[in-house]
Symmetry: C2
Subunit: 518 residues, 2 copies
């Protein structure tokens, strides 16, 4: 019986709670940033070099936050051969709000209907791009608490990031990530190691309830992001240092103690600057840095810099970008694959970076590494925490399965359709005019969707939304594939093997990752 821990139980936390499986979804179409520069009439390189973006994924009016999350959850469940009754918690982090009351979580409960499992805790959580991280922390806490009933938690982060025409438009994107959370995980959240900083600011917010577009104070947002990074890194470093001291190690923590370092990525260039900023933090924090040679060589003149005065200091930025370039290549660059090719996904952004790392390094390169994760949501809420990758990199290990499941990431990105800037602009216009309408039938084609993508069929006169799923059978002629699309979720997902609630296996071995459906 789930949740039936005896009243007198004094249980210990289960071992190694964290991420067991991860699925990422992004739209099947994109606009090229070089073409967008021309279309927008801006100088060449403004988006591609200035922002560091190469492509931007976007949704037609066929996709909304519900469909994105339906797609990514069902893909995760299918690719890991999971039954819906082994999920005891499901929480969605999003800032793509299409209903002020009804959660995306309740929409996802349609996927659970055949299993008969309705005892699934968790709802939606919101603060800009931070919602996915909040949901992940809540899930991990749940597994460690007396509320845990032995089942997995599912964490979903999804958003559609769109901006009004102007300088922010090329920083859009869209997508969703789903993560399976439980004990004996492959990516273990390190206990007690969270540096959190929350503060009131109007740097980026969405007060115009009828628009998908935010109000952005670009300069303030960068200052908030970088100051949060400073604060979170400082707190994180202090906490890990205190842990190490208890273990007899008095070394200070610095960037080298992260095998990989990933960031929430509004655009790639800010991430590169952020990695440089961590080096600046290390430098200022070092009582006696060697400026004669090594990574700090030539930085002596920056010895007395105050962090709070350097958010827009070009000299400091340039010097530390330069000094950290090798560290960036080693620890961060690979994480920007999805961000660079698909854009900012808001809540899933930093988990898209995680997916990018897992997709591009071998289990051997990842095993035992500490991955630093900086999550930022405007308004603002930020945490820097760390993930420890399991040691076992052997074929068939959980790490091998996890990386295998993401090994097609580049192929999937490359298989997307390149859409011209004018068609992209038309799509944005269409969304502007119709995303909030009742009695609406979407106009976008469903032919180009990835196999197994949920899409919006109609919105009725009472704003109720109805969805269908594109066929999983990519190799069928399109007509036949479309015929197999159904309006209800019935029989769309893998039938549950049993109505009884299975408990988690002691290891994650029971999860078999399939990888041949794209």
């Amino acid at each position: 019986m789930p949740g039936s821990l005896p009243a007198t139980a004094q249980a210990t936390w289960p071992n190694d709670v964290g991420i067991i499986a991860l699925e990422i979804y992004f739209p099947s179409q994109y606009v090229d940033q070089t073409e967008l520069e021309k279309f927008d009439g801006v100088s060449a390189g403004k988006y591609t070099i200035g922002l560091g973006q190469s492509k931007m994924g976007f949704c037609s009016d066929r996709e909304d936050i519900n469909s994105l999350c339906l797609t990514v959850v069902q893909r995760l469940m299918e690719r890991n051969n999971l039954s819906y009754d082994c999920i005891g918690r499901l929480e969605v982090g999003t800032e793509t709000i299409i209903d002020k009351s009804k959660s995306v979580k309740t929409v996802l409960m349609q996927l659970f209907e055949d299993s008969g499992n309705t005892d699934v805790e968790g709802i939606d959580t919101t603060n800009a791009c931070y919602g996915g991280t909040a949901a992940l922390f809540n899930a991990v806490n749940w597994v460690e608490s007396s509320s845990w009933d032995g089942r997995y938690a599912l964490v979903v982060a999804g958003d559609i990031a769109v901006y009004a025409t102007g300088s922010a438009r090329p920083t859009g994107g869209a997508g969703a990530v789903a993560m399976l959370v439980g004990p004996n995980a492959t990516l273990i959240l390190e206990r007690g190691l969270r540096g959190t900083h929350m503060q009131h600011a109007y740097d980026f917010y969405k007060p115009d309830m009828v628009s998908e577009y935010p109000v952005v104070d670009g300069r303030l947002s960068i200052e908030c992001y970088l100051s949060a990074l400073d604060r979170c890194y400082s707190t994180f470093r202090n906490k890990i240092h205190a842990q190490w001291q208890k273990e007899g190690n008095d070394e200070p923590f610095n960037l080298n103690d992260f095998g990989y370092m990933i960031f929430h990525s509004p655009y790639c260039k800010l991430v590169q600057k952020s990695l440089a900023r961590l080096l600046l933090n290390d430098f200022i924090n070092d009582p006696n840095p060697n400026t004669e040679s090594g990574v700090y060589e030539g930085l002596d003149s920056f010895r007395d810099v105050k962090l709070e005065n350097t958010y827009f200091d070009r000299d400091v930025e340039k010097a530390f970008l330069n000094a950290s370039s090798e560290l960036f290549n080693e620890k961060t660059k690979a994480s920007l694959l999805v961000s660079r090719e698909n854009g900012n996904m808001y809540t899933p952004s930093v988990y898209g970076c995680l997916a990018s790392v897992l997709a591009q390094y071998s289990p051997q390169q990842l095993a035992g590494q500490r991955i630093g994760v900086f999550s930022y949501g405007s308004g603002f809420a930020a945490t820097l925490y760390s993930i420890k990758v399991t040691q076992d990199a052997t074929p068939g290990s959980s790490l091998d399965k996890l990386t295998s499941s993401l090994s097609d990431l580049k192929v999937r990105l490359d298989s997307r359709k390149n859409v011209s800037p004018s068609i992209f602009a038309e799509n944005m216009k269409l969304r502007e005019e119709t995303h909030h309408l009742a009695s609406y039938i979407p106009q976008g084609t469903v032919d180009d969707l990835f196999a197994g993508t949920w899409y919006l069929v109609r919105v009725d006169e009472k704003h109720r939304r109805y969805y269908a799923r594109s066929s999983l059978m990519d190799d069928l002629p399109r007509e036949a594939a479309l015929e197999s699309v159904r309006l209800s979720t019935a029989n769309e997902h893998i039938p549950s093997p049993a109505k009884k609630v299975p408990r988690l296996p002691d290891t994650a071995e029971a999860i078999s990752v399939t990888n041949g459906e794209h």
Copy 2:
């Protein structure tokens, strides 16, 4: 150092995690439901008897979700002499969304500024009226997890419930509840005892992003509420029965095992029907009920009733309302004080019921009792869980302090201003037209607000909101009091005694409740 649990820690959950202090805020003005019946031209008794409502609190354009939450949090901190640096987590449950991205939580961080404490986890969580319960569960899980750093969690539930003119309008209300969560609590959440049911439905939702009003399918919503109650009660009963069996007790659980039973209250009459429905559940679940005498007397003809066929069965409803009337008076009636006098507050509704119980029974009547709690949020998400009240009812005990802090509840309700239905209607019209505007200066008077109430001063051209607080000095002439209102939060709250982070005391004794500020 908060959060610096050693990496190798295998800690057990702390004892008795739950609610330590509770503060409730409601508007200082109400409309009388008898007068509203006349004003609306409906039959006498439609609202007062049919719905069971006597008064409805409402906000002018001076209050919004941010101000409600600022008010209730600061009142809780002040009345319990708490320093802001002893809070390690703060989460807000609300469905009153005035920004799609920026959380209310970040606005509340203004209260923390003087303390220098920004390491405060948690953001906002949303699914209709369920958000407060989700936030409470998240807070309790946090305290039991490795993420806990020894500090308190704060859970805030707040909403403004307003409806378009018509039959739903008298079911509005407004308010906020703040709860302090930690170990060694006065109201202990019983471990492993949660019956949760989540399902997709469009019973009540808010797809019109520019309106404060929901779309409601009244009949469907009642069916969802009652079916969720059935499912949650069944799961709860099974879980507690399994616990009892492990302890050697094979008795089935029934209503008598709750000292008090409280419900999310859209309107009081539905709660009375819900208590009756739990008796119906007990009756159906009893293999051999005595229909000759006692509570089931004369109910023999309902022996073969199927729950799912009875949501709108008048005969069943009448028979079990009648049979449960004494149970209702004993276990539930007192909980409806705030609901009856202030209306539905959405997320805080069920916690207003909890406050009502604590305000009207003595520590001796409450000590050791199990309080059943049914939380429901449309869309829909529901949980039935249980709270165990501590045994110690002696003067000065934490239970004595908690009940004392709420003992003025009736006086506070009675001190509100009775406003005519026409003025109420004007206020609703004003909110309709202005609640979403930029460059707006609210028109409502601040003279009638309770002492220490935060209110909206203006919304600037970029939708940024600015607040001030009415004086805590009720006995000053109004002019003097108004002079003391400030635009910033600086110095508004009790200065933190120390910048260092205090850890929780082993018992809740350190919290001294003051109670003389209204």
